[in-house]
Symmetry: D2
Subunit: 253 residues, 4 copies
């Protein structure tokens, strides 16, 4: 259940409500957005604990995820990255090399992306690779190259964080932080990017159901970051003609 307040609550107010809830066996979970949000279990009797003058909306959800449920935001979400709007009416194209390998390689690709009308540049500096002996990325050096490509070609950049440790560094350089398919349920990483205040591009895991993907997104939102872009990159199935199988969802679900 979601209880959305009219304002940001004072620390004292929050603690007072929290104490009374816990005493009565409820599990409160606060989200510190502009207007405080309280998540609790189903059938929470709001009026017994919270003065109705304080609350703006009370929403009972029928899904394990709360904030990513369309009921919470029927109008949808637009994520703004500079002048680029993701989730608005026009399609946004993000392109770039798998890994950042060198300045010349990156600039060459970025120029092509720009000329072809691409809106954002992507490239990996920290690479999650199946084998430890494969190239693991240039690390911060790669991030710096991305930052220079952004300047030169006026393209916001998307790049991946692979651990809570490198997420801080990534956040310094990137416009959007990518979470890869293999890390979709790396919950410590999700919590971390939930606190970093940068838009997140969350890739669907190889065997994640849509419910799993939405729950992973909920992690990020539950730490106050509502700018999440879902990346449907398909799942692993028995069909091997294509590397992944795109699961085409019904129009609205």
């Amino acid at each position: 259940m979601i209880v959305q307040f009219r304002n940001k609550l004072e620390k004292v107010q929050k603690e007072d409500i929290e104490t009374r809830l816990i005493q009565n066996g409820w599990k409160p979970f606060y989200i510190d957005t502009e207007k405080t949000i309280l998540i609790t279990e189903h059938n929470f009797p709001v009026s017994q604990y919270i003065d109705s003058s304080l609350t703006e909306r009370v929403l009972e959800m029928d899904t394990p995820y709360q904030l990513v449920n369309r009921v919470f935001r029927p109008e949808g979400t637009i994520v703004r990255v500079g002048s680029v709007e993701i989730g608005a009416s026009s399609l946004v194209v993000i392109a770039g090399p798998c890994a950042v390998e060198s300045e010349s390689q990156l600039f060459r690709v970025a120029e092509i992306v720009k000329r072809a009308g691409g809106h954002m540049l992507r490239g990996g500096a920290y690479k999650p690779r199946t084998s430890p002996y494969s190239f693991q990325g240039l690390g911060e050096e790669g991030l710096k190259l991305l930052a220079r490509a952004r300047e030169k070609f006026d393209l916001p950049v998307v790049t991946e964080a692979t651990s809570p440790e490198n997420a801080d560094t990534v956040a310094q350089y990137a416009d959007v932080i990518q979470i890869g398919a293999r890390n979709m349920q790396n919950f410590e990483l999700l919590k971390k990017v939930g606190r970093l205040g940068k838009p997140v591009l969350l890739k669907r895991g190889m065997s994640a159901t849509i419910e799993d993907l939405l729950n992973a997104a909920e992690y990020i939102l539950s730490w106050g970051n509502f700018d999440v872009i879902l990346c449907e990159r398909g799942i692993r199935t028995i069909e091997r003609l294509t590397r992944n199988t795109l699961t085409l969802p019904p129009y609205r679900y």
Copy 2:
């Protein structure tokens, strides 16, 4: 390709070989075990770069993983945790609660495990949960309870690390560090536990092939930790009668 030396090489020796390899386009990867190991690409002409008096074995592998290939250790691996031997002739039973919730709960379960003949105790202190609103574990407090249960019931303990950050803390208390299915390809975590020098129990990911699992294990070994226990917990398939589908491999592969 694996080049195993007779001894631990000196830093100078290693750097000398490394330099010459890189100059000629090879990618050396050292593993700092008792006897230095060098991993390189296929068809590396060893004799051109390394004096044969230095090497004990040179193994050409036909798999992307190297150290976990049986060719490297035809005799198999026995992981020793106190007096418990995993991988030897007798079956080892590890049991315990999903999450450590309190001292009384943990001790009650540990006593049952001990009496029933179990060899090790497991329980989660850091819990990777699908929903951010579910109980996330007691953290270090849970680890302390596990350590006390170990003393009281003489059972080594297995517990999960979910990020490079909490892996250090887990290593202080646990006898075996568990990597959960959702983190099987959390490579930064694998590298971390590769450096911690404690046995690792690595659970197979939900849609990981056996090759993926072996590559994940290779990450840990490639950082010098050879004590890896593979946990075959099944994969997600179209069959829903059981939560996971165990993939029963052929006897020897």
Copy 3:
């Protein structure tokens, strides 16, 4: 719901009950075994339509399949093929070539099977092949060779029927009729072998759930043939190290 009568009902009795059920919106389905069985929908009020002196057992099932539910036969089923008992305490081994190719090939294999302690001989005369240009089997000629191998080596034979048309021919020669994985839901074929009165070996389909398999078996039983052997040959999954993935079910379900 299953209504089992004490005896085989007369045609008149059956029609009388049937008429009254249909008039009241029930769908009766008779099975002509030694003691007549009537299958109807849930919550059928038996006593309103059938004199209780006629019935032996009335079973309300909570599964879509009825006769293959263990509740109907808690003691399990033993299928007898000559002196071989399938489903009794000892394991039965069935072996033989993929396809019957010639007398010499079949006899050579049969001799090995016999010497190795195998209990039954299998070999395909009608082969369901992925490509139309692959060898499609010797047909009736293959069945005749199987019959001669049975004589010579005293081994009951199992062979596949691939259509209602060739099922009659197969039944003349075989001791057990095999239904292949690709035909598990070839319902016309299932109905046909349900009427032929020979034991049936039913292979699980490549993407069939256990519930699908049991429903397929129910087709055969619903035509009065209770001698069905389930063949768990695994399903197609993302794991490709083995051709199929065996789904190991919980002990009793």
Copy 4:
């Protein structure tokens, strides 16, 4: 390998070539279309056996399927059903009830289909049902109703055949014969509809790869029927939000 002749060969010519091929260990497979087609194995030395004046095209294929490979028909296939063209530039919509239940039901639905701009009417007379106790369709009575709906609403009809036995009856009434997902590898049925000379709508099996689907289509073509419509209805995967997962193939493969 495909050898396409300039004309329809005489019986004597065909037998002559066949004999010589078999004597030399080749497996000839004739297709009796307007211009005779001969399918053989890879690397067949055509010129050693067949006078080049007889042949129009010789195509070496790198796929197990031959006639459905685009190399054989680079221009694609248009299936004509009355005035409806499937595979041409405009989209064809086929709609109707799952099963034909009664005249009034069928006519009511057909009228809606017609008014909404649908091009063809579909409805099942022989229904492959998971449970034997479910409604199995009206059989020939249903086909007659479909034929009357065709007259009344000027809509060609598509309906399913479930066995070689009912395929003859279906062919008398239907404009297009449907093969259901569960029968995609019912090879005897595929051969049968290959001989019936009516267009076939072939549904992809639940766990069929695209290669499996194409091989199933090849069965129909190999019996001289080139009017096959592929129906991509998705496969069974771990995603359960939608009943099936559509596998969206790359544009051209």
